[in-house]
Symmetry: C2
Subunit: 331 residues, 2 copies
C-alpha cells in the first residue's frame, strides 16, 4: 500500500505520536507496513526518533486455538484494563490477512465495546513480506504504540502457526488460553507452546462448564510445576475465567502485575527486554540470509530434485546441502 502522496516529515509523525495523536499513530503504523523503500526509510527515521520514549509498557502475548474465545476474552480483559484506567493497545497478528491501512479488524463485531473505548487502540498486523516476517510489522507497531503512551500492549495470535514463537519473543508475559475439555483442542495446538506460557487460563468457566474448568485448572497447575524454570525465574500459574460472567478477570490482571513486580524486583525486566532486542537482530539476519539463499535462481533450479534425492535417502543431507551452497559460491 503506497503512502507516497500523503507522507509527512518524520518529525511530524514523531511529535504527533508522542502527543498521543491516534490518527498519526495509525498513519505511522501504515507507513511502517509499506513495502516502498522510501516509506521504509522514512519509517525507520520515525522509529529512531520515538525510540528513546519507548519501553515503558507491559507487553502481553495472548494465544490459543480457534474456538477458545480469544476475542471475547480480550474484549472483557481489555475493558477491565481500560477501567483501571490504563491506556491499552491491542495488536492482532492474522497470518491469513493482508489487510492494512489502519482499519479495525475485518470482523466488525469483534471487540465492539473495546474498539470504541477512548483509551483503547486496536490494530491488526498484516502478514507480509517484511524482513523478519510478520513479526517485524508487529514489533514496529508495538514500538509506535509504546511511544504514544499505551501502558499495556496485548499482542494476539492465532496459536496454530509459527507466530506464537514470534509473539513469545516480543512480549514480557505470555498467556495461553485453553478450554476445559482439552482433548480435541490439543490436536490443533503447537507442541512446545505450553512450556512458553507464563500463565495458562481456562476460558468459559461458567454454567455447566464451571466444574470441568476448575478440574482442568488443577491438572494444568500440577503439570506446570513439572516444567523446567525459564530465564524469567517465574512459576507459571493456571487460572480460570469467564468472558460471560467476568469471573476471574481481575485475578488475571493481578497476576500480570505480580509478574511485573517479580521481574522488576529481580532486575530481570530490562534484561529480558535487552535479550529480546538482541534475539530479533539475529533473527532478522537469519531470516534474511535464508530468504536470499532460497530465492537464488540456481538454488531454486537445483532444490526440487535434491529434496527428492535426500528424502528418498539417495544422497546424504550434507552432500545435498553442499551442492546447493557451492552452486551459490561459484558466482
Amino acid at each position: 500500500m503506497s503512502t507516497r502522496n500523503n507522507r509527512l516529515p518524520a518529525e511530524t509523525y514523531a511529535a504527533g505520536i508522542l502527543a498521543g495523536d491516534r490518527l498519526l499513530l495509525s498513519r505511522a503504523i501504515t507507513l511502517s507496513e509499506s513495502t516502498l523503500p522510501s516509506d521504509q526509510e522514512l519509517s525507520q527515521e520515525v522509529l529512531q526518533q520515538v525510540l528513546p520514549h519507548t519501553g515503558k509498557s507491559i507487553r502481553i502475548g495472548i494465544t490459543g486455538v480457534p474456538g477458545v474465545g480469544k476475542s471475547s476474552f480480550i474484549e472483557v480483559f481489555g475493558n477491565y484494563i481500560t477501567s483501571l484506567p490504563k491506556k491499552l493497545a491491542v495488536l492482532a497478528i492474522d497470518p491469513t490477512s493482508q489487510i492494512s491501512g489502519g482499519s479495525i479488524m475485518g470482523d466488525k463485531t469483534r471487540m465492539e465495546t473495546l474498539s470504541n473505548h477512548p483509551l483503547a487502540f486496536i490494530r491488526p498486523s498484516p502478514a507480509g513480506n517484511a524482513l523478519g516476517g510478520v513479526a517485524t510489522h508487529t514489533r514496529q507497531a508495538l514500538i509506535l504504540c509504546e511511544a504514544a503512551g499505551y501502558e499495556v500492549i496485548i499482542i494476539e495470535t492465532v496459536g496454530v502457526g509459527q507466530s506464537e514463537t514470534a509473539v513469545y519473543h516480543m512480549t514480557d508475559f505470555f498467556l495461553l488460553l485453553m478450554l476445559a475439555n482439552a482433548g480435541d483442542e490439543l490436536q490443533g495446538m503447537k507442541r512446545g507452546i505450553m512450556e512458553m506460557a507464563d500463565a495458562l487460563v481456562i476460558t468459559k468457566a461458567d454454567g455447566d462448564n464451571l466444574n470441568a474448568a476448575q478440574t482442568a485448572r488443577v491438572t494444568y497447575e500440577n503439570a506446570l510445576h513439572l516444567f523446567p524454570p525459564s530465564a524469567k525465574q517465574w512459576q507459571p500459574q493456571a487460572l480460570t475465567c469467564s468472558a460471560f460472567t467476568k469471573a476471574g478477570i481481575p485475578e488475571i490482571w493481578a497476576l500480570v502485575e505480580k509478574f511485573y513486580q517479580h521481574m522488576q524486583g529481580k532486575g530481570l525486566f530490562d534484561l529480558h527486554r535487552q535479550n529480546q532486542n538482541l534475539y530479533w537482530m539475529h533473527e532478522i539476519i537469519k531470516q534474511t540470509l535464508e530468504k536470499q539463499f532460497y530465492e537464488n535462481t540456481d538454488v531454486k533450479r537445483l532444490l526440487p530434485n535434491l529434496q527428492i534425492d535426500v528424502q528418498s535417502g539417495k544422497i546424504t543431507a550434507l552432500s545435498a546441502a553442499l551442492q546447493l551452497l557451492n552452486s551459490l559460491q561459484k558466482k
Copy 2:
C-alpha cells in the same frame, strides 16, 4: 586428526563396513571426523556407497541431566538389547570432548560390560567445527553403523545444551531420563525437552526410592497427556526402571518395539525419516549461512557496538540487522 597416511580406497571401507568389520567401521568414522578436505571427499564417497544399505535400524535418542544415571541405564539397557540378541551401537555426543580416533569413552569404567560385548559398538562423537556442528559427525557415524548392520543405535546426549534438539531430529524414539525428585533436576533441564519425549523414564526406582519413583511416574504420565500430539501420533508414556535391580528394563524395550510397530503400521516410520533427512539438509544450509555471515570481517568489526546499541534500545533490531547485512552486500 589426519588420516592422510593410512587411507584406503572408498570401496575398501564400504565393503568392510557392509561385511561388519568393526575396525574398518571405526576407521571410516574417524575419516568422517577429519577436517582435511581430501578426507572429507573420501568420506563422502564411502557414505554414498553404503547409503543404499542403511535406514534399517531403530534409532533411540537418550538424554537426561548429569546425575540421572545415563551411563548405568545405557549399560543395563544395552546389555538387555544385545541379549535378545541384537547388534547395538552406542554413539555418545560429548560437547566438551574433542577426542576422536575410535577410542571408547575417556572414562574407562563407563559401560564396562557393554563395551566388551561382541554385539556392541560404543563410540563417542567429538565436538568439532563440522558443517552443521557436532550433529554432522554423529549422523555420519550413525549411517556408517547402520551400514555395518547394527540393528539398534542409541545416541546419548548430556541433556543440558543444544545437542538434545539435534539428537531428537536424528532419532526415531526420544527417551528422557528423569529422577523421582525432580525439583532440583529441573533447574538444569532445557525447556521444551519434555514435549519432545516419546517416553519418560524415572531412573533409580529401587530401595528407599521406589515409592517416590512410582509417584513421580504417575504425575508425569498425567502431564504427558496434556501435551499436544506430535507428528508421530504417539502418546508418550512414563515408566520406571532400576539399573541396579534391572526392574523395568524389558518394559522399556517392549515400549520401543510397540512404538516401532505403531510407526510402521501407520506408514509413519519412513515418512518421519524422510522429513528428518530434509530437516538436516536445511539445517546445514542455515548453519553454514550464519557461520559465513558472522565470520565476515566487516560483520565482526561492526557487531560488538551494534549489539550494545540494540540491547540498550538506542537503535532498533531491524536497523542494526540492516547495517550488518548491508556491510556484506557492498562488497
